[in-house]
Symmetry: C2
Subunit: 345 residues, 2 copies
Amino acid sequence: MQATVIYGAGDVRVEHVPDPKIIESTDAVVRVVRSCICGSDLWPYSSMEATPEGKRIGHEFLGVVEEIGSDVSGLQRGDFVVAPFVYSDNTCEFCVEGLHTSCLHGGFWGDDKVDAGQGEAVRVPQAEGTLVKLPASANDPALLPSLLTLSDVFSTGHHAALKAGVTERTTVTVIGDGAVGLCAVLAAKRLGAQQIILMGRHEARTDLGRSFGATDVVAERGKEGTAKIRELTGGRGTHTVLECVGTLPAFETAMRVVRAGGTVSRVGVPQYQDGPIGGLQFGRNVTVTGGVAPARHYIPQLLPDVLEGKIEPGLVFDRTIGISEVPDGYRAMAAREALKVQIAF
Amino acid sequence: MQATVIYGAGDVRVEHVPDPKIIESTDAVVRVVRSCICGSDLWPYSSMEATPEGKRIGHEFLGVVEEIGSDVSGLQRGDFVVAPFVYSDNTCEFCVEGLHTSCLHGGFWGDDKVDAGQGEAVRVPQAEGTLVKLPASANDPALLPSLLTLSDVFSTGHHAALKAGVTERTTVTVIGDGAVGLCAVLAAKRLGAQQIILMGRHEARTDLGRSFGATDVVAERGKEGTAKIRELTGGRGTHTVLECVGTLPAFETAMRVVRAGGTVSRVGVPQYQDGPIGGLQFGRNVTVTGGVAPARHYIPQLLPDVLEGKIEPGLVFDRTIGISEVPDGYRAMAAREALKVQIAF
């Protein structure tokens, strides 16, 4: 089959790789229908050290079950499924608590001998726990982009908003107009937020953000951006800040625009080890939360709104390509030509 | 009157200062009955730059109302009161939310022209909002130490536990066997925690911690301490970590011993600006919360348990001195000879 392999910064290739097959009795093999490129894939694309053996990449996909191991219940050939961006058994103490990203038997796509999502098929470990079967009504091509966002990007936006404690009584700042930031806007709106300020400077994206529920857009960054947020909030800052970038300046901005007693919720993968978490933040009782989103936990909760068309997070996809075009998809996303690229098979 | 003035590191003096009097119509003057020295007073005692004019110090006191301004309701001469360690109007948007430490008209004892708590009397700004009147039954000498802890140290321990989300279902690590750490143990126990691990190495203190509810004591620090906590928690760490020291190593330990998905709640004043808050913490979905405790908000909630003798946080006081002995009180606390020193007038 064809699959995507990254060999280093800027070096993504589509190659013939062995077809996946059942290895463990808890595996399934899924034929991929839709996959996509994640903002987080751009971190290795920009900085990964060259490795001659390469590494499989991609962690978001919809597909059809093709084969199942002998210990997999609840799934059968032909089932249409969505895979969250971390596989998990759905039964360990962390999964039971809804923290599937810390599953004792889980792991990441593309690690070790596990396939990744940007390919024609995937061997899925812990298939029974990992895959969520979609109802027949999901077989509508118009729904595929939104269903695909449940793998990661919309679940991640939801995680940001939920961990921040967004309700109809909290004001919200979303930092970042990437696909995760826009999904965080949509998630905050879905949870009832009345004021949602989107920090971003790419007009096509912030326009989509407005249609998702952003009430204000702040294009300024750093001190000017902070001043604008203060101006929009009576000098206080917002109760919640959803940090959807992952750079240190974005986190610093988050800590400056949050209201005293408020919460900064991070879902952008931190590109820093240490950050400002000292006396200033302490004096203002600022909480820092968030992390890797347990998409598996959220999919069943978010699915009905997608199926009913109440939300359409799939609008973050502005380009659809075939598998052979994946290298150009990376280039387009890195150049900010494309917001988020989906791969149709 | 006599009051305590700090002139620099190691230089605390008791001096004659002008008697306080009403300046604003919202003031009261309180004759101090009990005051004490706080662990946080030891930070300036160890490192404050020498200042020829000196600075008044102390922020915890019980006293009797001696005079009230014309705009103060609900208080009268002779009322026995407790003052939280930040003054506040109790009516602004932050106070209404229970975050009195961010009061729009509040401030700290000893700042500007405000008296501090380690003296014979105090002018109390925003007296109506700040002071909590105690019932007649509180006039029992045996209760005074515990009532005094509501000013700061027990309210702070409670803040740590409450913000961490301690319940009967959460395991707890408390870092630090100072008075705040021991009060955090007591607060966690009060909230129902079943396993409370106290990290401390001063046996008299950890013994008091056990009597407050600690189920385990870990004397080791750093990597050895982390390993011990892991051993006591099936390798997981605890759901909540109450960081009651404020140094960077204490915060680093907190981030290592917290369970995935858990919460580090800080009440030790951070002696650092930046800390470990990057990818490792993000991957494990660790929340960092806490800050300066809104004691004013907690006093009415905690008072009944003190009055009924259900809890006795006043046991953290192991030395009682007169005002003239305050410099030696500082020396004794800094040398860890005394756990917490109270000043009786």
